[in-house]
């Protein structure tokens, strides 16, 4: 690009505007996976509470137990869509965050598993491992992203 032709500030396209203001805003800003994660956590707690409060026939219990799987699938799709839009630095941050999450989760799960098998703590609900994993991933992503910010 020649020097005598400075780059004009990019005009906002209809797609940009829709992405900024419309229903695609969450996806564009990478917030959709977080929102789906929160929906999954909410569905998990709601399912547990509904099971306690009401009597359910067996078939309905199956549906209730698998209720959080729907937003979880939504989270997976949102993660895949968000990942495809990341640039090379954001992908690097994501990869480092995933790696750190795996390492931390390994330590946490082995520790909890051993403590439980020795009878030192009560039963550890495996679904809580997912909540813990998402929380560790979000913190890792923020913490690793910090080193690339000024």
């Amino acid at each position: 690009m020649p020097e005598d032709r400075p780059l004009e500030p990019p005009a906002e396209s209809p797609e940009d505007r829709k992405s900024r203001l419309g229903f695609g805003a969450c996806h564009a800003q990478g917030k959709a996976p977080v929102l789906w994660s929160l929906a999954t956590a909410g569905a998990m707690f709601a399912a547990v509470l509904l099971r306690k409060w009401f009597e359910w026939p067996r078939a309905a219990l199956v549906v209730l137990a698998l209720l959080p799987v729907l937003p979880l699938i939504g989270m997976c799709v949102a993660m895949a869509r968000a990942s495809s839009r990341l640039d090379e630095l954001q992908r690097r941050i994501q990869l480092e965050a995933l790696g750190l999450t795996v390492l931390v989760m390994s330590v946490v799960l082995v520790s909890l598993g051993m403590l439980e098998s020795f009878g030192l703590i009560g039963h550890f609900d495996p679904t809580m491992a997912w909540v813990l994993m998402v929380a560790i991933y979000v913190i890792s992503f923020w913490w690793i992203g910090r080193k690339y910010r000024s």
């Binding site: 690009m1 020649p2 020097e3 400075p6 780059l7 004009e8 500030p9 990019p10 640039d87 090379e88 630095l89 954001q90 690097r92 992203g145 080193k147 690339y148 910010r149 000024s150």
Partner: protein, 75 residues
């Protein structure tokens, strides 16, 4: 790796956002490159060079290489 991206961008009067849009990356990535916190991939470095109509080595400088070069000249 040192680079002249910030100076070149300022010379052209471009914002980080405008350069990011041209490079198809986030503004955070442009900022990280300018601050030397992130070394871009070779394809992105070529893209930056093309936008400023310069060679890659006129924008990016290998600090280790230049330090060795100075050492060799001093010797």
């Amino acid at each position: 790796m040192k680079n002249r991206v910030r100076a070149l961008r300022a010379e052209h009067g471009w914002s980080q956002a405008a350069l990011a849009k041209e490079l198809d990356v986030s503004r955070q990535t442009v900022n990280a490159i300018e601050n030397g916190r992130y070394d871009p991939s070779l394809p992105l470095a070529f893209k930056i060079a093309r936008i400023f109509a310069l060679k890659i080595e006129e924008i990016f400088e290998d600090e280790a290489g230049s330090a060795n070069g100075e050492g060799a000249r001093d010797a």
